[in-house]
């Protein structure tokens, strides 16, 4: 290990390089006395100092040599026995590890450290320097470790701060996520609100006519026999009918929507339904001279007779409303193998469960593409004013959809503007 591996060693700190001499004796000290003091101090050597200045040292080795020489030592003072040369280091030199090691190699492993006056400060021995260096090394290692730890802490801190920033950013996003959820719920509430608004509007309009008309008649602002009176009565009567239909339809649609009210399904023959529809048709369509053509081979389905009649009647009613005079409405019933969730309207043979498809086709003005799914929603009308004039309220198709879906079927429309529309619905075969 090179000296460079050891840092400069502080003179007196930690495990000291410079240690106190274990024993100091004067040159006049008798040898026997010196041996006795060394015994007592458990010292393996003593520094001989003269007026606080180191002048030599006396070691166990010297003692052994002395004993081996059989030289008489009684009355002999130490000055003749001591090793007279002792390497001296100044305080500054004592901080130079390389110099210390060099000196230790050259000397007898003891170095006396003196101040500027030459006064003994202490000694550096091999043991002390090794110990000090080891301590220094440990300290350095510790210092290195400390530096590494601090570096790690700093890196960790940076990492934590980075994560904090990331967390803060994600926390900032969270309220938005929550906001979106709230927005979705508010949107749903808005839909409900909108429904209530629309229902309120649809109820208030005929009520205005009924209430106003009756009041005007009762308060004699118009007499029943006058033209105005007759007009009022007509308005009251039509509005009453409209209100009744509306209330019935709203209750119906709510009833159908309630999960607890499942339709009771029985085996039905399609011709029972279509025969009933033909009868109803005869009563409503004659003013426009519209013809109804029915093609029904007679198939078995599982269904609710009243509700399916309601669907067919609704579709036929719509077809009549929007059909020009002297046109034809077609009602066709056919088997299909379309699965209920088919994305295409055309039947794809061989796929899915067996079903029966009903089609009501008219030669009316058609439905624009953007409206073809919307018309099955509540209060949605392709042309509100004409629908209202015909007595519609925008709930009929929503009711049809509800009924068909409760049967496990599907309803949709295909249409060409200015040519006509076909309303289809499927019912699982019985």
């Amino acid at each position: 290990m090179a000296v460079e591996d050891f840092p400069s060693v502080p003179l007196f700190s930690g495990d000291r390089t410079v240690v106190a001499a274990p024993l100091t004796i004067t040159p006049e000290t008798l040898v026997v006395e010196a041996i006795a003091q060394m015994d007592e101090a458990h010292a393996s050597y003593a520094i001989v100092v003269d007026q606080q200045r180191p002048v030599g040292y006396f070691t166990e080795r010297e003692l052994i040599r002395l004993i081996a020489s059989k030289q008489p030592i009684a009355g002999t003072s130490i000055i003749s026995m001591m090793t007279p040369e002792i390497s001296l280091l100044t305080e500054t030199e004592a901080a130079d590890v390389a110099y210390i090691l060099q000196q230790l190699q050259q000397s007898a492993s003891r170095l006396a450290v003196v101040d500027s006056e030459g006064t003994l400060l202490g000694v550096i021995t091999v043991e002390s320097i090794v110990r000090a260096l080891n301590a220094a090394k440990i300290q350095q290692t510790f210092a290195d470790l400390q530096q590494q730890i601090e570096q790690l802490l700093a890196e960790n801190q940076a990492l934590l701060e980075s994560r904090d920033r990331e967390l803060a950013a994600r926390t900032a996003e969270l309220p938005q996520g929550i906001d979106e959820d709230i927005a979705e719920r508010l949107s749903f509430d808005r839909l409900k609100d909108e429904f209530i608004s629309v229902v309120s509007h649809e109820l208030r309009t005929p009520l205005t006519a009924i209430h106003g008309g009756i009041q005007l008649l009762l308060q004699h602002h118009a007499s029943r026999q006058s033209e105005q009176g007759q007009a009022l009565l007509q308005v009251v009567a039509q509005s009453s009918q409209r209100l009744v239909r509306l209330v019935n339809d709203i209750l119906d649609i709510e009833y159908l929507a309630a999960d607890r009210n499942t339709l009771s399904l029985q085996p039905l023959h399609t011709q029972d339904l279509t025969r009933q529809v033909k009868e109803t048709f005869r009563l409503i369509a004659n003013a426009k001279n519209i013809e109804l053509v029915v093609q029904d081979p007679g198939l078995e389905i599982g269904g609710n007779r009243d509700r399916l009649s309601q669907v067919l009647t609704n579709l036929i009613d719509n077809a009549v409303k929007f059909s020009p005079a002297n046109s034809t409405i077609h009602l066709a019933v056919e088997r299909c193998n379309t699965a209920v969730d088919a994305t295409t309207a055309a039947a794809s043979p061989g796929s899915g469960a067996a079903a029966v498809r009903f089609a009501v086709c008219d030669q009316g003005r058609g439905i624009p593409a953007g409206q073809r799914s919307k018309i099955f929603e509540r209060f949605s009308q392709v042309d509100a004013s004409s629908t209202r004039q015909e007595g519609g309220n925008g709930l009929g198709l929503a009711i049809c959809r509800s009924i068909v879906e409760q049967h496990g079927g599907r309803i949709w429309v295909e249409s060409t503007v200015d040519e006509g529309s076909c309303f289809y619905f499927t019912i699982p075969a019985g």
Binding site: S197, S200, H201, R204, T205, P206, L207, T208, A209, I210, H211, G212, G213, Q215, L216, Q219, H221, A222, Q228, A231, L232, V235, Q238, S239, Q381, D383, A384, S385, R388, Q389
Partner: protein, 125 residues
């Protein structure tokens, strides 16, 4: 004073009731129409003291018609009163904020509507 008012509504039954209510109770002259185009033409050409305007209409709603009336120098100063079945307070407030003379909700009392109009427009007669 014989006022002339125009009632715009897509519901023929409402036009009948409103017309008879105003003519029978206060003898105002009442023009009625379900058509937006006819309404704007009448407003432009006829001397009108007020317009009663429905809000929910399929062709163009009452708010859009109001803007059209205001953008025409011949019609912008005709006082407009919304006559609407949208009767919830939040809806009323929203309509009132459009700066119309007032909002009358349906159903209305046929023998009171003239008085309501007079109050809103500060007419003594």
């Amino acid at each position: 004073m014989v006022r002339q008012v125009l009632v715009i509504d897509d519901e023929p039954s409402i036009l009948v009731i409103t017309k008879i209510s105003l003519e029978a109770t206060i003898h105002w002259k009442v023009l009625t129409t379900t058509s937006v185009l006819e309404a704007l033409a009448l407003a432009d050409s006829e001397p009108l003291d007020a317009i009663l305007l429905d809000v929910v209409m399929p062709e163009l709603d009452g708010i859009a018609i109001l803007h059209k009336l205001r953008s025409n120098p011949h019609t912008k100063d005709i006082p407009v009163i919304f006559l609407t079945a949208r009767a919830r307070s939040c809806e009323r407030q929203a309509l009132e904020r459009l700066g119309v003379a007032g909002v009358i909700t349906k159903p209305f009392e046929p023998n009171e509507i003239a008085g309501q109009i007079k109050t809103l427009l500060h007419w003594s007669a």
